[in-house]
């Protein structure tokens, strides 16, 4: 049976080289002195690759700016990227590689809540701090009442965003009834729906109907036709721009004219491309910043120059995370993860791309939120709200 022999030879050669490769890679490259290694664990493949890639672009911009300005105390920041394939188990795999093989001092990312939570265990065990740029769900940094020591965040959290929008709906829009349409495949969307319902009903409003869809859905006409029958005063759709664009477009096509409210997932010029400016009229969404805001102009221009297109909210938050990271390393004065962790906790009134950040005791940044209105293809700032705490 000749091919058996050939197969054996091929297989043993393959396995031999790999074993060697494995052990060698195992030792990893030692961190040489004049560079600080930062791990970027993002969704580069898999179904949320677009959010991961956008955040990574913003982070890279921040790191390049810092390095061009001479790095931190003369040391350059090198970014080591790893792909978590938009999956929780792979996020752990990537984080373990960055920590044990690449010996990074700090981890940035991933973009999606589930992957951050999955990774937090590994980071805490190895005492390496994480900065989650976009995950807005509260249980990223706090688990049954206890703060996770090594997990930080550079964006505001859902309860703040949900409260702001619920207040806006009942007070500014005088809405009495609402329907909620969430994305069942993300924690982000579901927890925002819960907070909105709680705050809206506390303010005397009534939620008539709650429906759900799945990420990557294309056709929402079926459920929207059902929602139309409730003809509520407002429709709350806390989801990402890819699905939101189609939902708003298809809702208007089915003759739904009520105002549609959203959250920071809406904040991307693609929403207007997908839905069309006309359909987006009478829609409002909360987000981290308005690109019309003077203080945000430099970041927007820098991003436009480097990548040739406008930044979306993920890019902006990636950039903020980069700035926050650099500031913490400078104040820590070393690449030692635990020192950086302490410095992150003490972040106060730090000027970042989209505003100023002060870290609260739950490792969530106190940041202002803005409400924008889509008006004939443009985005007008309607309100700027500082968080109460």
């Amino acid at each position: 049976m000749n091919f058996g022999k050939k197969g054996l030879k091929l297989a043993s050669v393959l396995m031999g080289t790999m074993l060697m490769g494995g052990v060698l890679a195992g030792c990893g490259s030692q961190a040489d002195s004049n560079e600080i290694k930062v791990g970027a664990n993002f969704e580069m493949t898999g179904n949320v690759a677009n959010y991961g890639a956008a955040t990574l672009d913003g982070l890279k911009l921040a790191i390049d700016e810092i390095n061009d300005a001479g790095g931190v105390d003369g040391k350059k920041i090198t970014l080591v990227t790893a792909d978590n394939k938009s999956e929780a188990s792979e996020a752990v795999n990537a984080a373990t590689k960055l920590i044990s093989d690449d010996k990074v001092s700090v981890l940035v990312g991933p973009a999606v809540t589930a992957n951050v939570i999955a990774e937090s265990q590994v980071a805490t065990d190895n005492k390496v701090p994480i900065i989650a740029p976009d995950a807005t769900s509260p249980d990223v940094t706090v688990e049954n009442g206890k703060v996770k020591p090594f997990v930080f965040r550079s964006c505001f959290i859902d309860p703040q965003q949900g409260t702001v929008m619920a207040k806006f709906a009942s007070e500014n829009l005088k809405a009495k009834t609402a329907v909620i349409y969430v994305d069942n495949s993300t924690d982000y969307s579901k927890s925002l729906g819960k907070v909105f319902k709680e705050k809206f009903e506390a303010a005397g409003g009534k939620v008539l109907m709650e429906e759900a869809f799945l990420a990557k859905d294309q056709d929402f006409k079926a459920t929207l036709t059902k929602l139309k029958t409730a003809n509520a005063d407002v429709i709350f759709v806390p989801a990402y721009y890819e699905e939101v664009g189609k939902i708003v477009k298809q809702a208007r096509e089915l003759g739904i004219t009520a105002p549609i409210l959203g959250t920071d997932g809406w904040d991307d010029s693609k929403v207007t491309d997908i839905a069309g400016a006309e359909a987006l009229n009478n829609t409002y969404f909360s987000t981290h910043y308005s690109d019309k805001d003077e203080s945000v102009k430099p970041f927007v221009e820098a991003f436009q120059k480097k990548y040739g297109h406008m930044p979306n909210v993920f890019a902006a938050l990636g950039y903020d995370a980069g700035k926050m990271l650099a500031d913490a390393i400078k104040r820590a004065g070393s690449a030692d993860p635990e020192k950086i962790q302490k410095a992150l906790e003490e972040t106060k009134d730090l000027k970042v791309g989209t505003g100023t950040i002060t870290m609260d005791k739950n490792h969530n940044p106190i940041k202002q939120a803005v409400i924008l209105q889509n008006k004939d293809g443009d985005r007008v700032m309607v309100a700027k709200i500082m968080p109460e705490e």
């Binding site: 058996g4 297989a11 790999m18 494995g22 890679a25 195992g26 580069m44 993300t186």
Partner: protein, 318 residues
């Protein structure tokens, strides 16, 4: 027949030595924690590849539902350990039984189907299982199940893998295993030789599913959070690739296939942009040069130098 016993002892001795070597590598931290985690995953993938091989390779039933059975085992396991604080062994066994039972239920109707029709039906069932889990809020739905105790250690994975390989090897080399092989070769002839083909197809399906369930339990307890996104049909393709690359109908093949595929994706982690492109090209080239897989039908125990160690008395599938 005494060779049979002798060979088992040789295999056992070899495995214990291998275990000791790897355990030392781990405790002395020669292997970084990244490669330790991947060693666990390789062990788990070997269980999945061998159990899929029992269904596809040995019994010739083209099943693409393996990730679904793995998901059942994983979720049953984590619910028992995290919510009911049951011991790890109980959770694994319960996961295996639950997945096996589902394999049994699913097996009966679908095994009337043939070839590609069975493939798409089982793929559909795997997806249905994943979608149902995604809609059960008790287990965290799409956002995933959090707070899983980290029970899986190298010892658990290694010895369960060893048990799986021995179980499947001995099953295949027995009267029952031969019945499955007969079904693969020529189902009409098998039935005419007194083999109850439905019973054995469902049996292979149930055993394969049960081991996939146990592997699911082991997989889940490596991570703090699991979500339905890790159990899609693309995951089943991974295990199918391992089985075909190793050689349909060869246990050594499944071990080699699981090792090679898992190692390639781990080693490529340092080039995230090109990882999938290189993996795709590797797949195409390997099928181009070795369509029958690294080992085809052969087992390592009766090739070349091994033939002298394992006395000639072995049947080719030993």
């Amino acid at each position: 027949m005494k060779y049979l016993r002798k060979n088992d002892c040789i295999m056992l001795a070899f495995s214990v030595v291998l275990f000791a070597v790897l355990q030392v590598l781990i405790t002395e931290r020669v292997l970084s924690s990244f490669w330790q985690l991947n060693l666990l995953i390789i062990g788990i993938n070997i269980i999945l590849a061998a159990s899929l091989n029992l269904i596809n390779g040995y019994t010739g039933q083209f099943s693409l539902g393996h990730a679904g059975f793995m998901a059942v085992g994983a979720y049953v396991g984590v619910v028992l350990t995290a919510n009911f604080h049951m011991p790890f062994a109980v959770a694994l066994i319960a996961g295996g039984i639950a997945a096996g039972f589902l394999g049994f239920l699913v097996g009966i109707p679908t095994l009337r189907l043939r070839g590609d029709y069975l493939a798409i039906a089982t793929l559909g069932l795997g997806e249905i299982i994943r979608i149902v889990i995604m809609n059960i809020q008790y287990v965290g739905g799409a956002a995933g199940f959090k707070g899983i105790p980290h029970h899986t250690t190298f010892a658990w994975v290694f010895f369960i893998m060893l048990f799986t390989l021995f179980f499947i090897k001995n099953f295949v080399n027995s009267n029952h295993g031969r019945a499955c092989l007969a079904i693969r070769e020529n189902e009409i002839a098998a039935e005419s030789m007194g083999v109850n083909t439905t019973k054995y197809k469902v049996m292979a399906f149930t055993i394969g599913a049960a081991f996939a369930g146990v592997a699911g339990g082991l997989f889940a307890h490596c991570f703090y959070l699991i979500s339905p996104a890790s159990f899609t049909f693309m995951q089943t393709f991974n295990y199918l690739i391992m089985v075909v690359m190793g050689g349909l109908g060869s246990i050594t093949g499944s071990i080699a296939g699981a090792f090679v595929v898992t190692f390639i994706s781990a080693a490529l982690a340092s080039w995230p942009e090109f990882r999938m492109i290189i993996y795709a090209i590797a797949l195409i080239l390997l099928m181009f040069y070795r369509p029958q897989g690294l080992f085809g039908y052969m087992e390592i125990t009766n090739m070349g130098i091994f033939r002298r160690i394992f006395k000639k008395g072995e049947t080719p599938h030993e």
